[in-house]
Symmetry: C2
Subunit: 302 residues, 2 copies
């Protein structure tokens, strides 16, 4: 018997093709659940909820198992796995999506394994708010629910997104999406507006410029870890969210101080993740490397 | 007799016309020396080096005097004061210069007043490196020299800029300029390359995303103060530099810990500065407001 699942993560699982100014990789493992679960696996027993097609390579499935992730919630459906391809331009500052094929993801409607139902922590990765609500409804009594979203859902599914936001402990959203959701240019005002919609915490991701945690009237600012080189930024936000929730579950204190410590781990693990394509650097990580960089990062916050 | 000048600041003094998405102001006080000196005046006895034309309004001259700035180094030359006009677009993210008239600034070749020659702190605001060197050569034995620069000088005056950089304690430069100067995309590599050129410290300004202080192998990261609304970002970098150098001079400890404290004041005073046009908010500041926001800001760095 495996350990009880502390953190349930739902998200996409994809086969990506990624082109950067320096390199190109075809058919690599991607998807928000892949990045988030592997990142979280360094901290806590993580259960993955997602769907792949019958074409999903065994070697990628092994990545999850080797990382110690509970994949009872990973469904295999007849057909092709979700596929995404994109290109990074102008020194990685601009990402352009070349193609998206939903494939088996289109009709995904997951049932939670019994082992996941009592998990105290839940990360609703960036998928449709309808699907996020469907998962949330199946978790018995989550202690802390974090949801990620993106501009697509603000555009095409705002009422469901609002319904979801009402019920989460923390919404994580990037700068431009926070502005779009609230029609407030100021991030401070946007975050306060989102908190009025329900969440106790709002975490605004600023990519290579760090993150901001809003909690009532208090704001906590975290700069990003400065990297010499970024190889592939794909999945950085998902990695950040996964490590954050994993560290939060491991720390056992879902208060503001616990969140700040968890954000430090999110920042650090995400900084490793972008140093190689796909989940390659994440899979090769050790706890010692994470702790060592966390110590270095804390010294930079001096 | 006034107090001995602790901090000498040289820079431009201009009459600006600034247009933002919400408002437009004509013939307002601007220039790097104006912002930097007024910001520094809250911390230390500051001497201004600059030039204006005979058209320079008496009310603007009074701003300096009322702020307690020593203006013995402020020359008045026959002709028109330097003029700049610009427009901020796309929610303040893009600045476009509409016109620049050098006027009396074109042949400016300042002589230091005797009271400035022994000032221990020197801020060489963003003017030509030739002029920065001309001022540096007249200060007897400065303890800490900070220089600001911009892409223009990297383009048209690189050899003189390199000569200057060799001789300063700290270079402050923005992200894109650091990349341009060193041809390194990574800010970490760029900063290390600049340190190899001479300065003990490199301070990279990231505008609304904060700043990074490099000192040997150590990096100190400071996020920007999050503001509800920005009215006019003109002069924010100069305000940051002026308050930083003022606080450094007042603290009397020009080491890394002292610099970090000074950067906090730089960040805070700059955050006030952008809340109104020109130097209006800076002139209305009190020490209590600065300390109160510095305390709030430190709590955000939690």
């Amino acid at each position: 018997m495996s350990n009880p699942v502390q953190l349930t993560i739902v998200g996409s699982i994809g086969i990506d093709t990624v082109e950067t100014p320096l390199d190109k990789r075809v058919d690599i493992l991607g998807g928000s659940a892949s990045f988030a679960c592997i990142a979280a696996s360094y901290f806590t027993q993580t259960g993955m909820v997602g769907v792949v097609g019958t074409d999903f390579p065994e070697k990628y499935r092994s990545c999850y198992i080797d990382a110690g992730i509970d994949i009872e919630g990973l469904q295999v459906e007849e057909g092709q796995t979700f596929r995404w391809s994109g290109v990074y331009e102008q020194n990685m500052d601009v990402r352009r999506t070349l193609s998206t094929e939903l494939n088996v993801f289109e009709h995904f409607s997951p049932e939670m394994p019994a082992a996941y139902i009592n998990s105290p922590y839940l990360l609703l990765g960036n998928i449709s708010p309808e699907l996020q609500l469907h998962v949330l409804n199946q978790i018995a009594d989550p202690q802390f629910v974090m949801a990620d979203t993106m501009d697509l859902w603000i555009n095409i599914s705002r009422p469901k997104l609002v319904e979801l936001i009402e019920r989460v402990t923390m919404l994580t959203i990037n700068e431009s999406e926070a502005r779009k959701l609230t029609e407030e240019h100021s991030l401070v005002k946007a975050a306060r507006e989102i908190m009025r919609m329900g969440p106790q915490y709002v975490l605004i991701k600023k990519g290579e410029h760090g993150s901001m945690l809003f909690s009532g009237e208090h704001i906590c600012l975290l700069p990003a870890f400065p990297l010499g080189d970024v190889v592939d930024p794909t999945g950085a936000g998902d990695t950040f969210a996964g490590a954050l929730m994993g560290a939060l579950a491991a720390g056992g204190k879902a208060d503001e101080a616990g969140l700040r410590q968890a954000m430090i781990y999110g920042t650090v693990v995400a900084s490793f993740g972008v140093q190689d394509f796909s989940v390659d650097r994440l899979l090769a990580l050790t706890k010692e490397e994470i702790e060592s960089r966390a110590t270095l990062y804390r010294s930079m916050l001096c």
